[in-house]
Symmetry: C2
Subunit: 360 residues, 2 copies
DNA sequence: GCCGCGGCGGCAACGGGTTGCCATGTATTG
DNA sequence: CAATACATGGCAACCCGTTGCCGCCGCGGC
């Protein structure tokens, strides 16, 4: 067992292993990267020497020639939004299974930051999942031209997409509210740069048409608790009995804001959210919300990305659509009749000049 | 302007730029990495050619020789725990400022997964922040021997650490409960592998001693809503009037579990959490909790890591301690006297055989 | 006129694997 | 037994920057 001593500070390389195992460096390389290409006994010997020496293959050096880093980037719009936690889990699980490491990038709801981060990371990863990207379509296409890309929560021609069936979710929510006697619904909009925001509003428009429910939109507001609270104030100025919020955080903010002003949810106003975050279940009243299969979103997108990296063409036709479901809790209830009044009676703020309900 | 056409599929390299700018590749390299080393006019020309050709320096190739990837790893125990969101923000902000990319790793509360991920990532990053590591001390030291490491939420000799002043937080909580008339406090333990878990319990032990409050511990439970609900059941078996939970999620779970069993918080039992997550503010009752400067934790740890990477020795003496504060909300209240009974009267589960309050 | 020095650029080795191609030896086939 | 096929391992080029060292040139000083 020859023990060629090396300067101890250096990393162990295939050359060290080769010396010790009395083979050429290329054989060592092959013993790890294409074991079938070398005699199994030799491979075993090499593996043992490598073990003894503590050899670890250097991913960077490998990447230099293979141009495969075994890393993928996952870009999310806002890490403080709990929605992404499960998406990240799903993505990371699949990635880890495929021996990929995930680089998580938080775009902080900023187009600019997102582009900068993607720019910086692009060359070191084998592919990118853009979850709720705030970048422009053209920017995304630019990226997709250079690396495999899967877009999540957004549909975009020529780029593989994974989306949730928001139209159906909105429809379910509208039906639910309709059954409770509500004849108009206010949509509280989230970020304009958010693709689902537009989809949800348009779906509500359609659902309203078919179900004969009037709809209108207020906003945009920041998709946060604070944004919801601001929306609540505006809701007081233009009252409604049923509200569909862009997401759960806003919905919870709305409920809070309303109750602070003495408005009862669901007594006076029914509120529906989107996403079914954990908090939706622990607030009082529990939030009725449209649940998306978050984990599945992350894993499906990543799975698709990995097949593209392995050379598959990338399914750019129709986006992959994941099902959603309506989770009914206590923030929705039968419409308060408030008879004899044209407008719901709970306005405590300054009186409203215009008509309370405006059609879009 | 010579326009040597290259096969279009290939990336532009310094060699392409060199050819076009009529200099040697090394000059191109220097024009970017040590501009002072080359004539400013030459450098400018090179920069223009590079721009025209769309040259981007390949970070991997650079890393191969410099052994600097400009990436750091941030390992967190559980991405679904909202506590880490702000920590990640803080870390990423500082990293981005220093032109570093952050690789986020979710250990999913698993020692094994954490080690595997660290192992896999170690060689591609310049340094590592271990936030709430679940690995053993020796495993951490092993990692620290190979790469700069900063440990967050854990103290460990010979490795730079950033911790929060949990003892003070626990003390404040105990004082608060004491002032409300509680004379014993039950600590609901979180993961045993969690370092703060031990600190919090020991701090409570000490605080109890000084304040003449009896303390005991139950658990461990999983640091989640579900864990808290399980703890609530056990709390019913061994009642208490004041509870300090390992974290907010457990505290919220406890409140839920208790109310489901007809126990009123804070009427019958006061509950204090740890972390001050967003949900602590939106649950009913609002959760009294010990708030940590999460963003500062992430940024301080990362800042320290970057200085180590730049060659600073790494301050391994006393850990850096960040201040905490007690946020009082509605989950704590004056102790319900329940006169004439040795044990609080709210036990609805099977009766308890042993003494209700057991000293540790 | 000679020497020394600083500025600038090039050469070539290097980092650590990967891989196309060839040489050798053995097994298979006709 | 010759001819072909296959298994195995080595050689050397390559991936793309980085950097130590050297050479050239021009300038200033003596």
């Amino acid at each position: 067992m020859p023990d060629h001593t090396r300067p101890p500070g250096r990393r162990v390389t295939i050359y060290d292993v080769a010396l010790d195992a009395d083979v050429s460096p290329s054989t060592v390389s092959r013993a790890f990267s294409r074991p079938s290409r070398v005699n199994s006994e030799t491979a075993e010997r090499i593996r043992q020497v490598a073990e003894r020496l503590g050899y670890r293959t250097n991913p960077l050096a490998r990447a230099l020639t293979t141009s495969r880093t075994q890393m993928i980037a996952l870009v999310i719009a806002d890490i403080t939004n709990p929605v992404y936690a499960e998406i990240v889990r799903g993505a990371q699980e699949v990635a880890a299974d495929g021996e990929y490491t995930t680089v998580l990038i938080d775009a902080q709801e900023s187009d600019r930051l997102e582009r900068a981060a993607v720019e910086r990371t692009m060359s070191t990863v084998d592919g990118i999942v853009l979850a709720s990207s705030r970048m422009s379509d053209s920017a995304i296409r630019m990226v997709a031209k250079q690396r495999p890309v899967v877009v999540l929560n957004r549909a975009l021609a020529d780029v593989p997409c994974v989306v949730t069936d928001d139209p159906r979710g909105v429809r379910r929510a509208a039906e639910h509210l309709g059954e409770l006697g509500h004849d108009h619904i206010t949509y509280v909009a989230g970020p304009q740069a958010s693709w689902p925001n537009g989809v949800r509003w348009r779906s509500l428009l359609e659902a309203g048409m078919e179900l004969e429910i009037k709809v209108r939109q207020i906003g945009p507001f920041s998709p946060t608790l604070a944004g919801g609270e601001r929306a609540a104030q505006e809701l007081c100025a233009r009252p409604a009995t049923a509200v569909l919020a862009f997401n759960d955080q806003m919905a919870i903010g709305i409920i809070r804001g309303l109750s602070r002003m003495g408005v009862n949810v669901p007594g006076d106003v029914s509120v529906v959210g989107f996403d079914n975050i954990l908090a939706a279940d622990i607030v009082t009243p529990g939030l009725t919300t449209v649940a998306a299969p978050l984990y599945a979103e992350g894993s499906a997108a990543t799975r698709h990305l990995l097949t593209m990296i392995e050379g598959a063409p990338g399914h750019t036709g129709r986006p992959m659509v994941l099902p959603v479901r309506l989770v009914v809790r206590d923030s929705t209830a039968a419409r308060n009749p408030s008879p004899g009044r044209a407008r719901p009676g709970w306005v405590r703020q300054r009186p409203v000049p215009g008509p309370a309900v405006r059609l879009p």
